[in-house]
Symmetry: C2
Subunit: 414 residues, 2 copies
């Protein structure tokens, strides 16, 4: 195997990368190979200045006037408008607010109300847990008239039936990177008279998403992964126009009122999607997220996907060349059209292997029970990073370094 | 009337102020008299540096490792622990999370579940609207088995009966500054077998609060008013120990799971109050809030209350001296033991008067239909500020300046 040639090839691909310019728009610490942008995206270089401005000037100097003069009031809709372009939504179909979990609750509750005669929320067993937990909590709260039915991912389409009120799926699986065919599953849900809610946590900014092209009903997504919005960034929610007027805002806070400053004792929902706002928006977090979304919009969507797939292809190829004898099993789909922007390998010693790799400055993450997860944020991950990652991983395995006691110790957050 | 003497007296009071040192720990722009800390607290001087650190170093350089190494994971409990000291709670009885509206929803839902045989949420008609709206949304969602009953503030205690599941009140009224007797109303609720939830939005950091001393069941509060946590800061929630094991977490997100990184498909609540966490915490906002709470803890509670009352007393006295002929009516209680840390006057031309005052650099706010609201954050408002505020207000009235057309134009956020 000619590894020097592979390294040269990676460099050549980086030199020819049409979105290679974007790497310098992020802070990536020297010597780090950061393949965990699907957990916490890297920081756009613009962020410290925009956050300093919102804090020191807007809050410190302009104080309460900033709600008008510095656009705080309109931030949830403004950042939502920018984000809409990334996910194939109309500009008034996306709002930035709360966390993904809270937005799931709002939209699931509203969706069930639109299908009062149906009893089932259908999801997949391997969905991200918060999506399942939130459905459980909602069902418990509303008196257990509904049921959360879980099936394997491949069985979803066939499991949709006349009892299904809502199909709730994460587009790209957090653990394996497997990607549902959004258009196909949405069409299947609609043919059965069901609604569909897509969780775009591992999609927005990572793979092409066309919510309206697919006819999707609802979606939520995360601000701090591929959108690079910073730790605990506000999340977003989408609802198709046709549903706006009928949406029941169950977290009916003052921000979603038709006249928030009339301070009326009774709730009247705002006309449009704004009714899905609850409390006062997290202005500082919104500002950081806005910088991330704006930067993402500079990259061409087709170029992002093309690079993401090339990175994954190179990773799989190099793993075969350099690590094939070490017992890794590809846990992501082999068909790249069914993959998000990550590659996962299963290994019985996955936890200490990942700790050893992180100690060498290659940052991926571990997901129980045995998954090593590598995310490829196409704006700042380079082909050369892939080469280095596999080079270190092979060294970790060849040397037996992964089996040192310190790599077996569990961190509180993994 | 000897106004020069009043001014000298104000200066002397500032010179003798035991918490006068705190003013310099905040940024208050030159020439501004800021009496709107009950809407958005002023910025602690420490904030730009701590926010820069969380952004540039913790996020930018340390990236995902920060969840462990920089204490992101523990931030909701850590800031809650500090906040607990301000409100008379045990250190594991307060969490910082989400918005006040969302926390209201969580605690109201959990409270109703603890009193399954009772039907009524009792509140006051002039409560802050979001408290009422959230109750409405919850009742609608759970199938209208409950009723939101609204009475006048003075009638609350007598309206609690055997049908009351939950009494939901804001301790200090947002519009008038009238303060409930927390111990008395809590005891009345408990004697009738009801639970009580206090909204501390205008209390925490402004007036003494002793939740456990009063035997309170639940509370929520706001981070961006007297706690000076910044625009849209995360809010907090309190539940007494005795309720923790029975709390139903209806917004059952992954952060509240007993083992969040086990990624189990079924929800199991964490043992303690952590089960009331839903999604990923807003780390940047939490960091700014922590600086505000830490600063607040440097002030002695009795000194804060004493100064707050002295500021209010001076304001009312000077208004009588200088503005009595202009038609202002004190809308706050005359008995200062029943007042929070704000003074309100009603005036039929309240809106343009407040706009004219703001144009002179005296920042209060207007609350429909006719209330001019002045908040006294005791850490940074000085007696001299009160003198200047009334001096400007009398000039605005004496000159007729308030009636200029530009002051009648409505801003989008007031």
């Amino acid at each position: 195997v000619d590894l020097t040639a592979a390294r040269e090839r990676a460099r050549a691909l980086d030199d020819a990368d049409p979105i290679g310019f974007a790497r310098d728009r992020f802070v990536v610490p020297d010597g780090l190979v950061y393949l965990d942008g699907n957990s916490l995206g890297a920081m756009p270089r613009a962020v410290p200045d925009v956050v300093q401005d919102v804090v020191a000037r807007q809050w410190g100097d302009d104080l309460i006037a900033s709600w008008n003069t510095n656009g705080w009031w309109s931030a949830p809709a403004r950042v939502g408008r920018a984000l809409a372009r990334l996910v194939g939504a109309a500009e008034d179909e996306v709002l930035v607010a709360d966390s993904t979990s809270v937005n799931l609750f709002k939209l699931m509750a509203a969706a069930l109300r639109l299908k009062p005669e149906r009893r089932v929320i259908l999801s997949e067993r391997s969905n991200f847990p918060t999506d399942l937990y939130i459905a459980e909590g909602l069902i418990e709260l509303t008196g257990s008239r509904h049921e959360l039915r879980l099936v394997d991912g491949a069985e979803i389409a066939d499991a949709i039936d006349g009892d299904t009120a809502l199909v709730s799926l994460t587009h790209v699986n957090y653990r394996t990177g497997a990607m549902h065919d959004m258009a196909d599953v949405t069409a299947r849900a609609h043919r059965a008279g069901a609604l569909i809610l897509w969780d775009l946590a591992h999609s927005a900014g990572a793979v092409p998403v066309d919510l309206n092209g697919c006819g999707a009903d609802f979606a939520v997504g995360c601000g701090y992964k591929y959108l690079n919005g910073g730790p605990g960034a506000p999340a977003f929610l989408f609802a198709a126009h046709r549903h706006h007027a009928g949406l029941l805002p169950v977290l009916s806070g003052w921000m979603g009122h038709a006249a928030p400053f009339a301070f009326e004792p009774g709730y009247r929902p705002a006309d449009g999607l704004e009714r899905m706002l609850a409390g006062t928006p997290a202005v500082i977090g919104l500002t950081a997220l806005e910088a991330g979304v704006d930067l993402m919009l500079e990259g061409d969507g087709a170029a992002l996907r093309s690079k993401s797939l090339a990175l994954g292809r190179l990773f799989v190829e190099l793993m075969e060349q350099k690590c094939s004898r070490h017992g890794f099993r590809l846990a992501s789909p082999t068909d790249e059209s069914s993959r998000g922007s990550q590659i996962c390998f299963a290994h019985e010693h996955g936890y200490p292997i990942m700790r050893a790799l992180i100690a060498r400055g290659v940052i991926g993450d571990f997901r129980a029970p045995d998954i090593l997860r590598f995310g490829f944020a196409p704006l700042y991950v380079r082909h050369a990073d892939i080469w280095h990652a596999v080079d270190h991983l092979s060294a970790v395995m060849d040397s037996g370094e992964w089996d040192r006691p310190e790599f077996h110790a569990r961190a509180s957050v993994t």
